[in-house]
């Protein structure tokens, strides 16, 4: 089975555990070890430093690495701090960017429509999947985002094992929510998810380098679900979402 990682991170972290594989060649080594053919990557500078500089650094970092595809971090364009919709479309098209990552809590802005209307309108029109970490919009905020923008496909990443009571009702209410599998580790969690919500809402990701590719791959490989469901999770669903992007 082959895997496509829907979300990992590149770039130099301020701090890291001894032996943590944060350098790009180390990430590529782990991907190869885990049979991960390709990945969507964002840059730590775009997420933790300055968004547009980080997005540029990302393009330079992966220019010669065909396995890695760019994922840009995005802000509302208030004060012209980020690209307005038309410019964003052109830039994404020019640079082969097909997904965006938002971080409303970390970036200190509202996720409600009065603040995000232009960016989310663009994502809906161009069918650009939008990623964010669960910590950026936990609990009711997750519902609000998915509910406010029903035509945008959202993928949440960096989840955990104790979320199901929060997550289930949002999945029930919002068909546009997809779950990144990296560190989604309730006991037999993927099996339960497939039973209640179907495998086509699960997207394989690793959360590298802070997350574990070896764990993420094993979760899918050892899950008590069909081969077809595993293929959808491992690469099929993200390939479908990327194939729907119209820039």
């Amino acid at each position: 089975m082959r895997f496509f990682d829907a979300s990992c991170r590149l770039g130099r972290p301020a701090a890291f555990g001894e032996g943590m594989p944060w350098q790009t060649d180390e990430i590529l080594e782990i991907m190869a070890r885990c049979h991960i053919d390709g990945a969507l990557a964002y840059h730590i500078v775009a997420r933790e430093g300055e968004t547009q500089d980080g997005n540029e650094l990302l393009l330079r970092e992966i220019a010669q690495i065909p396995q890695l595809q760019p994922q840009w971090c995005a802000l509302p364009a208030t004060y012209d701090e980020f690209l307005h919709a038309d410019a964003l479309r052109d830039a994404m098209k020019e640079n082969g960017v097909r997904t965006l990552r938002i971080a409303p809590k970390s970036f200190a802005h509202s996720a409600r429509p009065y603040a995000m209307k232009e960016l989310m309108g663009f994502a809906a029109e161009c069918r650009v999947p939008v990623f964010f970490d669960y910590g950026e919009a936990p609990c009711d905020e997750l519902y609000e985002i998915c509910h406010d923008y029903p035509d945008v496909s959202f993928v949440i990443t960096n989840t955990a094992y104790a979320l199901n009571r929060w997550l289930g009702p949002v999945l029930d209410a919002c068909g546009n929510l997809y779950l990144g599998t990296g560190n989604y580790v309730p006991h037999r969690g993927l099996e339960t998810f497939c039973k209640y919500y179907a495998a086509d809402r699960l997207v394989f990701n690793t959360n590298l380098p802070t997350g574990s590719a070896t764990a993420a791959v094993s979760l899918v490989c050892f899950a008590d679900i069909s081969k077809e469901e595993k293929e959808l999770i491992a690469h099929g669903n993200i390939e479908r979402l990327l194939g729907e992007v119209r820039l």
Binding site: M1, F16, G17, E18, G19, M20, P21, I30, R33, C34, H35, A160, Y161, A162, L163, N164, R165, N183, V185, P186, H187, R188, G189, T192, N207, L208, P209, T210, G211, S212, A213, T214, A215, A216, V217, S218, L219, C221, F222, A223, D224, K230
Partner: protein, 257 residues
């Protein structure tokens, strides 16, 4: 076939002895903990090729520890060769462990997690009765040893009670420096691999510091899944010989299984 191939082939580990030294049975008010009974545990064990698990009832630790121990003992009774039961002990009570280990043969060791029982330290006065009993009878004790201070306390206990055998749950990832020191000072200490999320390379790091003989596979099943931690071992850069030690051989010897 190398051990890593089991992951990509989705094959259970038939020819490797696997022991999970750190699991939980019983549901929880705190979060959804699906399929937490003994039968479900054994179903998962069979699917992955895990031979033996060592269980406690963590929800019981937060409230009625004796109720929790009954839940755990029931899981063991249903599968006596597959699920071993730790009795959760509580430092706020005086309790004669003969109740569990002489008049009742359902338990094989103790689980110590006093921080959820009034925020008490591992080495508090109320726990000494239990450590002394474990020392007298050579019992295994599983610590929740997450914080560096907990690992330091656990190390002091392990030195004071050399005939008991102590598993430091989590500590090889959460308090590495202290866990390494514990392994240097105490022959009766084993670290486990239990953690929900840790970067690739962390297992190799702790094995490089304490040796492959001092680390055992543990997962927190059913608090969460166990297959991802199995994969962290199988797909790590350890040799297959080292992986076999971590997966089961160390625990087999340490726990006298």
């Amino acid at each position: 076939m190398e051990l890593k191939d089991h992951v990509f082939l989705s094959k259970e580990l038939k020819d490797t002895f696997v022991v999970d030294v750190h699991i939980h049975v019983g549901g929880s008010t705190r979060y959804q903990k699906p399929r937490n009974d003994g039968d479900s545990v054994v179903y998962t064990m069979d699917r992955l090729g895990i031979d033996v698990t060592c269980a406690s009832c963590s929800p019981g630790a937060y409230c009625d520890w004796m109720w929790g121990n009954e839940v755990c003992a029931e899981a063991h009774a249903g599968h006596p060769d597959r699920i071993k039961a730790y009795a959760v002990v509580n430092p706020n009570y005086e309790f004669d462990l003969d109740e569990y280990f002489v008049r009742d043969d359902r338990f094989f060791g103790l689980k110590a997690i006093p921080f959820v029982q009034g925020n008490l330290p591992i080495d508090c006065a109320g726990m000494q009765q239990y450590y002394a009993y474990a020392d007298k009878h050579g019992l295994p004790v599983l610590f929740h040893a997450w914080q560096p201070s907990e690992v330091r306390d656990a190390t002091a206990v392990a030195r004071r009670y050399p005939n008991a055998r102590f598993i430091f749950g989590h500590s090889g990832f959460t308090a590495v420096e202290e866990a390494v020191e514990a392994c240097k000072l105490c022959d009766n200490v084993l670290l486990d691999t239990t953690i929900s999320d840790i970067y690739d390379g962390a297992l190799e790091r702790i094995v490089s510091k304490v040796g492959a003989d001092r680390v055992a596979y543990g997962t927190d099943l059913t608090a969460f899944e166990c297959s991802h931690i199995l994969g962290r071992v199988l797909l790590s850069r350890l040799t297959d010989t080292e992986k076999e030690k971590v997966l089961g051989l160390n625990a087999k010897e340490f726990l006298k299984l």
